[in-house]
């Protein structure tokens, strides 16, 4: 039997937690599983999920104050008592809820229904279009996470080739038609350094094109509708990439095309699933009808339907961004850098990240080079500050300084979050500015990076102009440090509260 409990007292520090402990102890003693959600001064801790509710047999409210979001537990058998009573009589409360649960005729829904129900609950908040767009965003993140390994393989291969052979190694793979047809020459060629490099280069190219966009489309669809989305997604991605079918080939849809293909595949799967068939044909539907028609429809959509528009869009966007120079690139870089450091790994940061990765897979890796510098700045600057200027930071932050700097060096922004959360108004602005400055400088100098993932300061070897990049990065860090220290010096915490009209 699985039990739930909510504990909440007025101060939210003492009784809430003690009652939780006592209930856990008592449940364990009597051999029941229990999950206790504490609604205290720290907010909701150990939140009970929709799935917990579905699997539970009953809930104990040990509360002196109102229960937050009580509607979550409407369907459950319940008992109620004061917090202090639960501390003293935890055994009795467990016995009570067990008895209550046994009397109840509530049937536990099965796991599938639970998942559907929790989905439905979320669904009801949005209309169909919003729901689809949200799903798409989630799917896109899943897609991007699945292309990262490919990007690493392809990107590092190209990066290493750059490192060892310089940027102009095109002569290595420019083979004539005669050479390619000459079997003896090719056999020889494949055992030479030149030959190996040739193959490496092609592996790298294939990792990018068309494989990467296919995987992106497939896993975008997978993230939205699960396994049935995979095959239509792969095919849609292939079409989006200008994959050829006989003599037919289409404009390359690139990154955007892949995302659209994934969404289209998922959409068709969703629609086809709605078709009602007699239950004998249910397995035929899953095995044949859905993948077949979803695949065909996705191909048609990408070839002749709106997919083509997105392919066009992708191309135009690429051309437009390529044509940008000087001031425009400075502005774009600045915006991307600011976005990167605004929420340090949150949705705004992710939007900039998606954009830069997308541009990178189109071959415009300068966006990711710029983004990499920006995202390394908060960790580096705050870590360094906490070490160099400890008086501006509390004990905890000082202790975390070194590790935060190392995380920043490795391109992980999250280490900076604790600093930002404690003092957002004085920390975030200059992290954004520092990131913006560095990204603007790097983007406008069109510095390339050999990999469009896992960007970090130690990626210097695969950056086309490492010293310039590093200089701009250091400038960004310096701006972030100088600005933040200035803010902390001239805008004291007390003034801050007063300025914002916060009464103490």
């Amino acid at each position: 039997m699985k039990l739930l409990a909510i504990t909440a007292c007025t101060a939210g520090v003492a009784h809430t937690y003690m009652a939780a402990k006592f209930l856990e102890k008592a449940a364990k003693k009597q051999g029941y599983e229990i999950k206790v959600e504490k609604q205290g001064a720290n907010g909701i801790e150990d939140r009970i999920t929709a799935q917990d509710v579905a699997q539970a047999d009953g809930i104990i409210y040990a509360t002196d104050v109102g229960v937050a979001e009580q509607e979550r537990f409407e369907s459950l058998p319940n008992v109620h008592c004061k917090v202090a009573y639960a501390i003293k009589h935890s055994d009795e409360m467990i016995e009570k809820i067990v008895a209550e649960a046994k009397n109840s005729d509530r049937e536990k829904p099965d796991a599938a229904a639970v998942a559907a129900a929790s989905q439905a609950a979320e669904e009801s908040q949005d209309n169909v279009v919003m729901k689809f767009l949200k799903d798409w965003y989630g799917g896109a993140l899943s897609g991007v996470s699945h292309i990262i390994p490919l990007v690493i393989i392809g990107g590092l291969t190209v990066g290493l080739l750059n490192l060892f052979f310089g940027y102009d190694y095109t002569h290595l793979y420019n083979l004539t038609q005669e050479q390619l047809a000459d079997k003896a020459f090719m056999a020889d060629f494949s055992t030479t350094t030149q030959g190996i490099i040739h193959y490496l280069y092609y592996i790298a190219l294939k990792a990018f094109n068309p494989l990467l966009v296919c995987v992106l489309a497939a896993f975008t669809a997978y993230g939205m509708v699960g396994k049935p989305g995979l095959a239509p997604g792969f095919i849609g991605g292939y079409v989006a990439m200008g994959g050829t079918f006989g003599k037919l080939s289409v404009v390359s849809g690139g990154f955007i095309g892949g995302l659209v293909a994934g969404a289209a595949a998922a959409l068709f799967v969703m629609l086809l699933r709605k078709i009602k068939v007699p239950s004998v044909l249910e397995s035929v539907k899953t095995l044949i009808i859905v993948p077949f028609f979803a695949g065909i429809l996705t191909i048609l959509f990408m070839l002749v339907g709106p997919g083509k528009f997105f392919a066009f869009l992708n191309n135009e966007l690429g051309l437009f961004l390529q044509s940008l120079s000087g001031t425009n690139l400075l502005i774009l870089g600045f915006i991307l850098g600011c976005m990167s450091n605004f929420d340090m790994g949150g949705p705004i940061n992710k939007a900039a990240y998606l954009f830069c990765i997308g541009m990178g897979t189109n071959g415009q890796t300068e966006f990711y080079a710029a983004f990499t510098a920006a995202k390394c700045i908060p960790g580096m600057s705050l870590g360094l500050m906490a070490t160099l200027f400890p008086r501006f930071f509390d004990k905890e932050d000082r202790a975390a300084g070194t590790s935060t700097a190392i995380l920043g060096f490795c391109g992980i922004t999250e280490g900076a979050i604790p600093y930002a959360v404690k003092d957002p108004l004085r920390i975030i602005p200059f992290q954004m500015l520092g990131g913006g400055v560095a990204a603007a400088l790097i983007l406008s100098s069109k510095i390339k990076i050999g990999t469009v993932a896992g960007g970090a300061v130690f990626m210097l070897p695969v950056i086309s102009e490492p010293l310039t990049w590093l200089t701009y990065f250091v400038i960004g860090v310096a701006v972030a440090i100088a600005g933040t220290i200035a803010l902390k010096t001239f805008w004291k915490r007390g003034d801050l509260a007063a300025d914002l009209g916060v009464s103490k």
Partner: protein, 151 residues
């Protein structure tokens, strides 16, 4: 984690002789005030008093955890006392015998701060029978401090 960041040796009292709930609360509140943890002692005592009115803070097992959550508290902290003679404390079913008292001072601070987290850890610690008994039996402040450090 180290709960001694919330208290000091001066705030720990062993085997004190008091005759009432008010007396021990006043004693501990004085110490919190002297240690600079309170901005306004009267305001804090009022909050503790109000909490006592609201419901029992004696939790059985000889333990009482009176507390006040108010902006009269400067810094989250606590003071404790073990009592030579048990005193009567209003419990759930009438008066209870209490021999160990923790007085918590809780600021009206934002949720989730480190100190609030530590205070909640303290209350979890007091649930442990062994810890409580060791504290009641302690004759050396260091024993209590050690128990708090090892939490």
């Amino acid at each position: 984690m180290d709960l001694t960041t919330l208290t000091t040796a001066e705030l720990i009292n062993l085997q004190v002789e008091v005759s009432s709930r008010e007396e021990v609360i006043n004693l501990l509140a004085d110490q919190l005030d002297a240690a600079g943890k309170l901005a306004d002692k009267a305001g804090y005592l009022k909050a503790v008093e109000e909490r006592e009115e609201e419901g029992p803070t004696a939790l059985g097992e000889n333990l009482a955890v009176p507390h006040g959550k108010t902006n009269a508290v400067k810094e989250a902290s606590f003071a404790m006392a073990t009592l030579k003679n048990d005193i009567k404390w209003k419990g759930i079913e009438g008066d209870e015998d209490v021999s160990i008292v923790f007085l918590l001072a809780i600021p009206d601070a934002e949720a989730g701060s480190t100190h609030i987290k530590l205070l909640t850890d303290l209350t979890c610690l007091l649930v442990d029978d062994d810890v409580r008994e060791a504290m009641i039996a302690a004759t050396d402040k260091q024993v209590v401090l050690d128990l708090l450090t090892q939490a």
